[in-house]
């Protein structure tokens, strides 16, 4: 494997960025939607291949790019979910074309934006330069804004507008924080490019001015926290998930939220290196817990199936943030596992929800019922997804939540009571909905689903296997990253 990677004319890091970049103009140029959907799958597959090759490639620490254990697993995860979603999207958009919700012109644009988003997320993940990381997240945000508004219904435009305004404000504040970090690091490292390199900043964290560093973190927290969807900065998230195309909801929840959390964690690592700066962990714990509890209560009031799972995403990002806030090897391990599992399971759920919405012609929960009699295969996939996401065994989410609760009890017993309360509330809300959707009396129109269930069940299978057995190598790896996070 290593020889193979060494023999490549370009390093896998370049390829991870290059494939989406090539795909954008190609996909804009092609008007046949079947061909462009196929090419979208092909390019996403190539990116995944490059991501896997990255595992065998040597680690990099340059002024602009960095590959370490932390981001390498997120790159592979991003490329994998990006690939399966592109497969799902190919079957999903056929139906949207038939019903006239999308026109071929918009599809060209949709595929190009999909690749732009994937490329930008990869850029944010591999960049060592904190400015470049910001650019990646900004471009990814703009690409998703365009896609959320693509149906051009009043609801979609309202959602995209809200996402755009809140997203830009968040990203603006994050940039202010980035400048502050540069100011504080340039006074120690010296001005120029190295002062923006994350690994240099971490190496000198102890010498940096703690007050300025704390101020910078507050800006970064509000800025990137908006993108993670932490309450109270979450207002854009349910609308954006509900009104955009379902493949976009899947990648938003499964990937973009993760990438934003990743950015936040990078800065937490800087603060952890300075004993006089504010305690980033305590802030993350609070925000995580608030998001979890808030979302858990909100789950009971949802009437739209995609909004329901959007709030569930807020809940799960809250859990992961709480885990990283507690810190320490075990909680970080749980947080990383939770990020991975949530990403796989939530995108699987959105795949199922997309099929359901297409079959029933609506997203209103009140009109979706009796799925087990009308669409048995889909119903099984959907039910397994919900069982997995609420944290019931034997799926991977159970593992990560169990690990988190057990380690949190010894460290923060009172907060853990709240954590468990939030988990149980969310479990109740989702199982209640599941009951109606599965076993109610079938109502409304119901069309057969032509799309393929392969991406859905592949994701669920991985989550199931991870819940039963994690490979030794993966455990060692997660441990290494957890130690890195401090």
């Amino acid at each position: 494997m290593q020889e193979l990677v060494a023999a490549l004319p370009l390093s896998p890091v370049t390829l991870v960025l290059l494939f989406p970049a090539i795909a954008i103009p190609v996909l804009v140029a092609i008007s046949n939607y079947r061909l462009s959907a196929g090419l979208n799958v092909l390019f996403s597959g190539l990116t995944l291949l490059a991501g896997v090759l990255l595992l065998a490639a040597p680690r990099i620490r340059g002024d602009f790019l960095i590959i370490d254990d932390f981001n390498i697993f997120l790159i592979v995860l991003t490329a994998f979910v990006g690939f399966t979603t592109s497969v799902y999207s190919a079957s999903y958009i056929g139906h949207e074309l038939e019903t006239g919700k999308l026109t071929p012109t918009f599809l060209r644009f949709y595929h190009a934006m999909y690749q732009a988003m994937m490329g930008a997320m990869n850029l944010a993940l591999v960049s060592n330069n904190i400015g470049l990381m910001w650019v990646g997240l900004e471009v990814a945000t703009l690409a998703t804004v365009m896609m959320v508004g693509i149906y051009r219904t009043p609801e979609a435009i309202e959602a995209a507008w809200k996402y755009f305004i809140l997203g830009s404000v968040g990203i603006g504040l994050a940039f202010f924080g980035t400048i502050l970090i540069y100011m504080v690091s340039s006074s120690v490292i010296g001005s120029g490019v190295p002062a923006m390199a994350w690994d240099e900043i971490v190496a000198h964290a102890g010498q940096l001015d703690p007050k300025l560093l704390s101020l910078a973190f507050v800006f970064l927290l509000v800025g990137y926290g908006t993108k993670v969807g932490l309450a109270p900065f979450h207002a854009w998230l349910p609308d954006a998930h509900a009104e955009g195309p379902t493949p976009i909801s899947a990648v938003l929840s499964g990937l973009l939220l993760n990438v934003a959390l990743y950015a936040l964690l990078r800065f937490k690592m800087v603060l952890a290196g300075n004993p006089f700066a504010i305690d980033a962990g305590a802030i993350l714990m609070t925000l995580g817990l608030v998001s979890l509890l808030f979302a858990a209560f909100m789950l009971y009031r949802r009437r739209d199936i995609k909004r329901l799972f959007a709030y569930s995403s807020i809940e799960h990002m809250g859990i992961a943030t709480f885990a990283f806030g507690i810190g320490g090897p075990l909680a970080n391990f749980a947080g990383l596992l939770h990020m991975t599992m949530h990403s796989l399971v939530k995108s699987a759920i959105f795949f199922a929800v997309g099929h359901v919405a297409q079959a029933k012609g609506t997203q209103r929960l009140a009109d979706i019922s009796g799925l087990s009699t009308t669409h048995p295969a889909l119903a099984v996939g959907f039910a397994l997804g919900v069982i997995a996401i609420v944290g019931l065994p034997p799926f991977g989410v159970f593992m990560s939540e169990f690990l988190l609760v057990s380690t949190a009890f010894s460290r923060q017993p009172i907060l853990t009571v709240l954590l468990v309360l939030g988990l149980l509330l969310a479990l109740g809300a989702l199982l209640l909905r599941l009951q109606d959707v599965m076993f109610g009396v079938p109502r409304g129109k119901s069309e057969p689903v032509k799309a393929s269930f392969v991406p859905l069940f592949v994701h669920l299978l991985i989550a199931l296997v991870a819940g039963l057995w994690l490979p030794e190598a993966l455990v060692r790896w997660f441990r290494g990253v957890a130690a890195l996070l401090g």
Binding site: G131, W134, E155, I157, I165, Y182, S186, S187, M196, L212
Partner: protein, 223 residues
């Protein structure tokens, strides 16, 4: 550094801030756009001066981008949009002017109080600039919150970006990579905004965001 140089840097940065405050009480859309254009010009002067003071020629490029893109091209385009949509005579406000101004002044005081004691280590030019920049960012936010018109919200966002550029140039020797990308992102932002403004017009015959809010997904259920 001689006090005069310092004072001039101060003057320009404060000019950007004053124009931000002026934006708050403009009630005509055309006036909002004009004040924004003026702010971009003052910003480019400030950036240009920083480039001389810091001996950093690459900042001249940033100043030039700010002047051309935000001082000329974007305001011209916005004027055209506004005329096309026939909203150039519109007057709009949510919170009364006096209250908005008071809130704006409070934000300026807040940012000075926040930044001054914290940024002791940095050189004085950077410190003053930074307080101003933060104030401009917060005032941009305030403008976006208090106005309901899509075009004014665009201007609020871009004025927020002006504050970011002011901060970025105040930080000595910040690499050009970032500045170019900021200009780039403003451009994208503008395209997106343009697209939305037109789509909003197409659908509802107005650029008033209040109309949009009737279409919030779940609210329909309660009607």
């Amino acid at each position: 550094m001689s006090p005069l140089w310092f004072d001039i840097a101060h003057l320009f940065a404060a000019g950007v801030l004053v124009l931000s405050l002026m934006l708050l009480y403009q009630d005509r859309i055309t006036a909002v756009i004009n004040v924004f254009a003026l702010q971009a010009v003052v910003l480019s002067l400030s950036v240009g001066w920083q480039s001389i003071v810091q001996g950093a020629p690459h900042l001249l490029a940033t100043a030039f981008i700010a002047l051309i893109a935000k001082g000329i091209i974007i305001p011209t385009a916005l004027h055209r949009i506004v005329r096309k949509l026939d909203v150039h005579r519109e007057v709009e406000r949510v919170v009364s002017g006096g209250l908005t101004m008071l809130a704006g002044l409070a934000l300026v005081a807040l940012s000075i109080l926040l930044v001054q004691p914290v940024v002791e280590t940095a050189d004085p030019v950077a410190r003053e600039d930074f307080a101003f920049a933060l104030a401009v960012v917060l005032l941009g936010l305030l403008l976006m919150i208090t106005r309901r018109n899509a075009v004014t919200q665009v201007v609020g966002f871009m004025s927020l970006e002006n504050g970011l550029i002011l901060a970025a140039t105040g930080a000595r020797g910040m690499p050009l990579v970032v500045e170019v990308s900021v200009a780039f992102s403003v451009l994208i932002a503008f395209i997106v905004f343009g697209v939305f403004v037109f789509r909003i017009r197409e659908r509802f015959d107005t650029v008033d965001v209040n109309v949009l809010e009737r279409f919030r997904g779940e609210r329909r259920e309660h009607l």
